[in-house]
């Protein structure tokens, strides 16, 4: 028992060492935790109702009453920013889950079975990848009608093929490792090979992919909301908030800064985590000249 807790302590200590060495990664983790914390804060602090309009206090700059000011309808920017966290980040995470739900089995099956199955599956992915991603998402939204749900589906439909390709590449690399080949020769089943041998190997690089791809999905979703074809008003969503701020941003700079910084920081957090993990995984050093 004592031994076990000492071991745990040791791994915590090592984790802290890693964070100390990789400042980008720790900043990224900090940002993501901060967002999670703030999104939970309405449980402890009462904010002004995010959709409550106060037409007398339109476009007012930050004050004691409205710490981050109000928007063109007199709504509190701070509470809208907080209420938008679960919408914006939640939509991105959900879209990423949908993407993985398609891409992971797709890449695994194509990579492990190989041959004609692989060729056909990759050809299907290529067909969708032949369209620029955001444009494909636009078309899907065009076909479904503008809404947050449509933009999630559109982004997922446009983003899964590249993820499937990346996962397939990881699987192919993992498959060629000696012990996996040995397991295959020894007659282990596909499922066993996937879960015992392939998954543990591709998991670390997959974490990098998930983190970086969630960042790009978040950017895409907020772009679509900004264009007015994603989340619809009055839903608090960062992209939609910026869209609403467009006619007024010369008069009320805070309306431009708050949601913009929110998207940037969230994307930055995800990118920093992805980059940091990638850096830990790849330690080759170049020759000095």
């Amino acid at each position: 028992m004592n031994n076990l807790s000492a071991k745990k302590l040791n791994s915590v200590y090592q984790f802290i060492l890693i964070l100390k060495k990789h400042s980008g990664l720790s900043i990224g983790i900090f940002i993501l935790f901060a967002f999670a914390f703030i999104s939970l804060s309405p449980l402890f602090i009462t904010y002004i109702e995010p959709n409550k309009m106060d037409l007398l206090a339109r476009l007012s700059p930050p004050s004691n009453e409205h710490i981050l000011g109000t928007d063109h309808l007199g709504r509190d920017v701070l509470s809208r920013f907080v209420a938008a966290i679960p919408v914006s980040l939640g939509a991105a995470l959900f879209a990423m889950m949908v993407i993985l739900a398609i891409a992971l089995p797709w890449g695994l099956v194509a990579g492990i079975i190989g041959g004609r199955v692989d060729a056909i599956m990759m050809r299907m992915a290529d067909i969708i990848m032949a369209f620029p991603t955001l444009i494909f998402a636009l078309a899907i939204i065009g076909f479904m009608g503008a809404s947050l749900e449509a933009s999630i589906i559109g982004v997922a439909a446009a983003w899964w093929p590249s993820n499937a390709r990346m996962i397939r590449a990881l699987v192919l690399a993992a498959k060629e490792r000696e012990f996996v080949r040995a397991a295959r020769l020894a007659g282990a089943s596909h499922l066993r090979i996937i879960f015992r041998h392939i998954m543990p190997q591709i998991l670390p690089p997959l974490t990098v992919i998930i983190s970086l791809e969630t960042a790009s999905v978040l950017l895409a979703l907020s772009s679509l909301s900004f264009l007015g074809i994603g989340a619809q008003p009055p839903t608090p969503e960062w992209g939609a908030m910026l869209n609403e701020a467009r006619p007024f941003f010369t008069q009320a700079l805070h309306m431009l800064l708050v949601p913009g910084l929110a998207v940037t920081l969230a994307v930055l957090g995800l990118n920093l985590v992805g980059e940091g993990l990638r850096h830990i995984l790849d330690q080759r050093e170049p020759y000095k000249w």
């Binding site: 980008g24 050809r123 299907m124 290529d126 067909i127 969708i128 032949a130 369209f131 620029p132 991603t133 955001l134 444009i135 494909f136 636009l138 078309a139 899907i140 939204i141 065009g142 076909f143 479904m144 009608g145 503008a146 960042a215 950017l219 907020s222 772009s223 900004f226 264009l227 007015g228 074809i229 992209g239 910026l242 467009r246 941003f249 010369t250 700079l253 431009l256 913009g260 998207v263 940037t264 920081l265 994307v267 930055l268 990118n271 920093l272 980059e275 080759r284 050093e285 170049p286 020759y287 000249w289």
Partner: protein
Amino acid sequence: MIKYLLIRMASALPTLLGMTIVAFAIVSLAPGDPIEQELRAMGIVPTVEDLNALRAKYGLDKPFIYRYLDWMSRAVQFDFGTSIATGRTVINEISLHFPATFTLAISALFGTILISLTLGIAAVASNQNTASFLRALTVVLVSIPSFWLALILIYIFVFYFGWARLVGDGSLRDLVLPVITLSLGSGAALGRVVYERIRAEMCEDYVRLAIAKGVSPAKILLRHITPRIIGPLATAWTNALGGLLGGAVIVESIFGWPGLGQLILQAISQRDFPIIQAYLVFMGLGFFITSLIADIIVIITDPQLRRKNSHE
């Protein structure tokens, strides 16, 4: 070489065909009847007979395959029908908006290449502190959403300094801010690719030999590393064009640039399906052509592949 090109294009045929099917399917399987919606939008409540008659007129009562083949046979003659919203032919609308988007995307591509090379090579050449600063800068630039960057640039350069104008006439001067907006993010992202490519090559044995020979860094980069990475980089750059075409929609909307992006946004809100279809096909085609160009560059710069293809 020509033979290779033909083979490459033939192997892409199924993809192209699949693309058209996807483009057609997305729109023609859309829920809601475009004709009914259109009529309702005009304030007409159609009878069932009217609807059926109109459907028959537009061929919407036929099965999917038939409609696809019909659409394809006209599409190869650049006949994509007429816009439901404006009544003009689709190809007319597209060709009206295409030049603006083409100019924007190509300028942004050059901007991207320039920025990525500058950032990537600077990161390779600089010492540890500068390199980590550049890395941080890259991550930040990649993370800034283009729509926000555009608004900030407008705030600074249009409203604060008054150096640029918002509603332009499509002259070269009006292109500067949109191009910067589009190319900063992708340039930074690709700058990292450039940096990592070079760094990966710097770990290779042949670089060690070049160093042992006493070759200077600039010459190692230019003579030894460049031929190895130019193909992959060309692929990365042309792939970035896809992102730029998508980003163009956002930037055009903000800067009022009269390109295809404006057209598609309008088409989406008006559910103008023929326009959406044609837009998807053209964008896919443009993207396809650029990846073909990238493939040719890969072949030209890889001696092993080049030799193999010329012998076959």
